[in-house]
Structure formats: structure tokens, C-alpha cells
Symmetry: C2
Subunit: 235 residues, 2 copies
């Protein structure tokens, strides 16, 4: 019998949202039918986006410390509900005893058939890292990113507001970014930062597939665990 490992805290509200999705996606009528989860919520990890952009300290030692913690905790799979941290996916995977599910792979698998252009909403660091662009390209999908002097500012604001607990302001910023995506005739938007789906609860722009990176990672995680029977206890 094994358990899910969540490396969270990046940010803390996004981790709660991810755990909520794990619980809701698990078919269970009573506690004992749910999945065991260990969460390391370590919010002190240095800003991932700033580090990728070369303007902040390197978080890799802290990221590896989180993986070490989950190795000790004997988890059977690892989910990291923070997109930007996947810039260091290779290094974390090399350190982890359990497989780490890649958040971009989970998102790209969810894009509706027939979609031509996918807009990527993420931190400037995650966009500079390029892992979403590569995952989409590998599946033959076109992509676009918000202009740095334009809609990317709305995405940045959205993320910062959610981290500060200001959800109404975050939703308004997201709405502006979604208007841009629609104007560019994007068929889908990857909400490739786990703060964005929290703001999207109140978003009002229609006519786009919104791919929730937190939800898709949660789905992949629950499926991984259910397929292996981690909810089946001897009682």
C-alpha cells in the first residue's frame, strides 16, 4: 500500500485548491475509501519565476530538500502543484524515488481534439523556460503567449492578487487576459500557473476551453493511485 506525495506551498492557496480537487475526484462515500496523501507545504522556496529569469536566488536546493522529504515519507507518486517549478523537473526526477507526474503533460492531454491554437497563461519564468511550448509542439499543437507589454501584465496581476488572497481583483485581471486570448482566436487557454484557476472561479469570458493545470494534475494523480488500489485497505 502506498500514498500520494504532494510537494506544495508554491503557493499555499494553490496547494489547498489541489488537495480539494484530489478529494472531489476520488469516488468515495466514507473516509476509508479515500486516498492517503502526504503534503509538504513549504512556502519558503525562492520565487521560481524570478530565478528562471535570472533575477532571484536559485530555488533548486530547496526543491531537492522537498523531494528528499517526500522520499523519506515513502510516497509512491509525486505531484507538484506549481507550474514554474517544473523548470527543474529533470533534476527533481533524478532525486525522487517515486515518479513525478509532469503538470504540462497532464494539461496537454486534456486539450480538446481539433484545437488549433492554444494560449499559454503562466509566469514569465515558466514561459521563458518553455516546457509548455515544447509539450504542445510535441503533440503538433500551435501555441501563442500574451505580449510582454500587454496581456502578460494581466496574467502577472492575476497571479499576484491570488497569492495575496485578493480573489476579486485576480478575476478581473484574468478576464482582461482572456479577452486578449479570444481576440487572437485561441481555441483553448492553458491556465499554466496554479493560482490562475482560483481566479477563474469567477471569470466571465466564454467561448474558450479553459484547461486548469491544477485539475488536470489532480486527475492524473488520482488515476495513478486508483489504478494501483491505494484506496483499498484491509479492514
Amino acid at each position: 500500500m502506498s500514498r500520494i506525495g504532494v510537494f506544495g506551498g508554491m503557493g499555499p492557496a494553490a496547494t489547498v485548491d489541489f488537495m480539494d480537487k484530489l478529494v472531489r475526484l476520488t469516488p468515495a462515500k466514507r473516509d476509508q475509501e479515500h486516498l492517503p496523501v502526504v503534503v509538504a507545504s513549504f512556502p519558503h522556496v525562492h520565487d521560481r519565476s524570478r530565478a528562471i529569469l535570472g533575477v532571484g536566488p536559485d530555488p533548486l536546493p530547496q526543491l531537492l530538500a522537498g523531494i528528499d522529504f517526500l522520499n523519506e515519507a515513502m510516497v509512491g507518486v509525486i505531484a507538484i502543484p506549481c507550474n514554474s517549478s517544473h523548470h527543474w523537473y529533470a533534476q527533481m526526477s533524478a532525486r525522487a524515488k517515486a515518479p513525478i507526474l509532469h503538470i504540462a503533460d497532464a494539461c496537454v492531454a486534456a486539450i480538446a481534439a481539433g484545437t488549433e491554437k492554444v494560449a499559454i497563461f503562466a509566469t514569465r519564468g515558466a514561459l521563458a523556460s518553455g516546457f509548455y511550448q515544447r509539450a504542445l509542439q510535441a503533440r503538433g499543437l500551435g501555441w501563442l503567449v500574451p505580449p510582454e507589454e500587454g496581456a502578460q501584465g494581466n496574467v502577472d496581476d492575476c497571479i499576484r492578487y491570488v497569492k495575496a488572497g485578493e480573489l476579486a481583483e485576480g478575476s478581473a485581471s484574468l478576464d482582461e487576459a482572456l479577452k486578449w486570448a479570444r481576440s487572437q482566436r485561441a481555441g483553448a487557454v492553458i491556465m499554466g500557473c496554479t493560482e490562475i484557476p482560483i481566479a477563474a472561479r469567477e471569470a466571465t469570458v466564454q467561448g474558450l476551453q479553459l484547461v486548469d493545470s491544477s485539475l488536470e494534475l489532480a486527475r492524473a494523480t488520482v488515476n495513478h493511485a486508483l489504478e494501483r488500489g491505494w484506496n483499498q485497505w484491509d479492514s
Copy 2:
């Protein structure tokens, strides 16, 4: 530098709700100002209420295994967002290297001055254990519990519905129980099972102080950590 330990999974949705409260109660504008938390969400622990009532297997070995896990995780304080498990508070405290904050103490401290009669909504097991009655009596407060053949059935239904993810039905059951409490001229109701506050989001009965055991435990936990500066990282 230390971290909060949460022994959860009893039930899983209540644990998510508790973590959400930890995040919201922490004054922070960015990730790095939040508190580090380790969560052991182990939903397979045998039903606490049934064990207290003598009709189910003993969860104590599983409860102690959870404490052992948090001991290994080097946590500085432990919160257990499950009221009924506090029946085994003494045994868990003896095993834990860190202090365990008692959920009933946190609730009783929150009751408004001048309150005469406090209704206790909890599992039948927690009521049979009597730790809420003793905590109230120690502060000179009167208490009452729902009749076994009457409103206690509504409380039982509320808890079971929330554990099954059926929130609307849970709220309706809670409303019935709250009507009983008002008819008995209770001044406050302790929602002494961590599923009940989740149903209370939609509860409509007014005129009673509703004491949320999950919120009060979260408040005590955050205060414990902030007083010790666990959100202050060297950067």
C-alpha cells in the same frame, strides 16, 4: 525553524477545509510569508465514533502511527482536525514529540462572554467520550446535547452527507438540528465535528453563535506558529 504538523484525513474534506483556514488566517502577501505545514492525510483510520461506542475496531494503533509519522517529520506542533479522535488525546500526546493542540479547548475559549447554555453538535462517539462536556464544565458553562431519538439524527445525517460530498443535503440536516438548539434557548452551538462547518456555509438559521471547531483549531495553530516566528525565513 519549525513547521506545523496536521494529522488529517478524518475526513479528507475536513482536512482541506482546515488547511484553507490555516492559509486564510495567516497574514501574508506572498508565498514566502506563509507557514510551513506537513499534512499526513490518512483516511483509512477506523471510524472513531463507532470505536468509542464499542461497535467498531480500535483506531488507536493507526492514530499512533500517524503521530509517529509527524514525529519523524520534525513538526513543532500538531493539530488534528477530527474531533472524535480527541477521545485518545492523552495516548497521542504521550507519543508525540510536539504538543498537540486540543480542539475542545480551542472551541471553549471562543465562546462569547455571558453565554449560559451551549449546545454540542458532535458524533455520538464524541458525545459519549464527554471531552466537550468536561471542557465546558471546567469553564463553568452549561451544556446540552441533542436528544438521541431526535435532533442527534439530524447531526448524524449532516456529517454523513458531508463525508459523501453531498453538501446541500448536509446543510438541510444541519438546519433542522439548529432549529432544535434555538428551541432549547442555547446561546451557542459548538460544531464539534469538522464536517459540520462545511455544511454550515449554507446554513440559514440565525440567532445563535456557531463555534466552528475547525476554525478555532486553525486559529490556535496559526497563533502558535506566528508567535514562534515560523513564517520568518532567512532569504
